[in-house]
């Protein structure tokens, strides 16, 4: 891979990764992550792993990131500050910088054999990948498919809304603040006609009781 191309892709990857951790709005973080994954996918393609690169773009960027986006929308997450204990933030950043420096030094001064002088022909085509998957790694392949099925069933089961839900978020939105059944709350609301609000509600659409 020519150096100018690698430099461009590396700078873009680092900038987008920094964007992921430094942006306040989760959707902006997600966009940064999508750019980073796309960028590294292109690096894969440049390194000869064409199939895996495109797989990264199709699966990671095209599907998993959209899943993240849906969840962010579902939970209606807003932009937020950083929060957290100052000690964790400071020492976390220092520790990660130390880690980065250590990794960089380790990889940079690795044995000369790691410097690419004349590489053997990279077997990156889809045929060689397929052949390897279906012969050497066949069991892992089949087990992964079962894993995916389990994940699908698990995700549906976890995120399912049960009919008589006891979710705090849902209950507080409908004005029910205790674990009494929803029906009693609705009856109570219908019996007591609420007064006309003195001012226009400018909230998030929640039921504000003016009692």
């Amino acid at each position: 891979m020519p150096l100018w191309l690698f430099s461009f892709l590396a700078v873009l990857a680092v900038i987008s990764a920094l964007g992921v951790i430094l942006q306040r709005n989760p959707v902006h973080c997600l966009l940064g992550l999508a750019v980073n994954l796309l960028d590294i996918g292109v690096v894969f393609i440049g390194l000869g792993a064409v199939t895996v690169g495109f797989l990264q773009i199709i699966v990671y960027v095209g599907a998993i990131m959209v899943l993240f986006l849906f969840v962010i929308w579902l939970l209606n997450l807003q932009a937020e500050g950083f929060g957290g204990y100052l000690g964790v933030r400071f020492f976390g950043a220092v520790g990660a910088a130390a880690l980065a420096a250590e990794l960089a030094v380790m990889f940079w001064h690795a044995a000369p054999i790691s410097r690419l002088v004349a590489a053997p022909t990279p077997p990156g085509s889809i045929t060689s990948l397929g052949r390897s998957l279906f012969s050497d790694y066949l069991i892992a392949f089949e087990v992964t498919s079962v894993l995916l099925l389990t994940a699908i069933v698990g995700a549906i089961g976890l995120a399912r809304r049960l009919p008589s839900s006891t979710d705090l978020a849902e209950r507080s939105a409908t004005g029910q603040t205790s674990l009494r059944s929803a029906s009693s709350t609705i009856e109570r609301r219908e019996q007591i006609p609420g007064p006309i609000p003195a001012r226009v509600d400018s909230g998030q659409g929640r039921d504000r009781r003016i009692a």
């Binding site: 959707v27 966009l31 999508a34 064409v50 199939t51 495109f54 960027v61 095209g62 929308w73 889809i126």
Partner: protein, 373 residues
Amino acid sequence: MLIEFVIGALKAIVIVFLALSLAGVLLWFERKGAALIQDRIGANRAAVLGVGRRLGLPNLGLVNTLMADPLKLFTKEDFVPEGADHFLHGLAPFLALFPILITFAVVPMGDTLRIGSRTINLQASHLDVAALYVLAAIGIGVYGLALGGWASNNRWSLLGGIRASAQMISYELALGLAFLSVVVTYGTLDLQQICQIQGGVWFGWLPRWGILVQPVSFLLLLTAGMAESKRVPFDVPEAESELVAGYFTEYSGGKQAVFMMTDFAEVVLAAVLVTLFFFGGWQVPWLYHDGFHFPGPHGAFLQLPNYAVAILQIGSFWAKTVLFCAFQILVRWTLPRFRYDQLMQFGWKGLVPVGLLNLIVTALVVVLVGAKY
């Protein structure tokens, strides 16, 4: 070295230009076609200095659609709604258009063109895994409308954006399965090779086009392609009578023009894919690289120079593409819209099982018959 770069750049420019021009012409074709189907006249007023009327020609609405409308769109005020995310609001239309345009880089317009001693492959970029590349680009196209819908700070846009992205990722599955069946049949992901394999004849006269081998896959690809471009009957994300304009409610002027362009570019892309996989791409029946070899006992042989063959191939490719674009426009103005749950059920419970079954049957047949294309 430089000449290679220039030739490559020229091919890329030409094909993107042709695709966008076709998208523009389709805009006019849709307006007039819709008018014909709905038994009305359509746009026929705008004219430049009354030229057509003075000459006694009927006004076909070309000035209206191809000059007045773009001029209006690009000179409109470009506003960003209050509380919207400025950056994403501006980025979204281009994020929607860009992936669709870059898929045209791997679309082969013809076989090879020989100029002097140079053989030019009439494909902007020759990729071994071109079909994967197309799938990847279509997958990225979801972001434009999802983010556009969210960044507008408008609940109808958000609803439209969510519906659109959910629909797109659902029908990507059906699209991918249709691709897979074709790839299993031809044994290659390379689009140029798939077109080349569809040359030749069976029984001496029947062209080896893909539709004869994969009819179910053809229907699947056409349907999923129409769903991907969110055209009626899969129109719910931009349901004009329900969600104002769905995810591009808050867009006006140039950005809306880009979204419209995306719509028609996706129509062209779906038509191109159907042509490439099932109708021989640039193949003209009985045309080989040295001329026509007509079938029959007295098979005539018409010798043609290389550039004539290339021109015929390019012409046939675009003719078939235009045919399928016209078909999609016809379907749009004929069928009513799916309800959203019907749409999702159709995608997940209808197309995906059919696609899987088709894939299994295709794989079985390929293994048993041992067809080596």
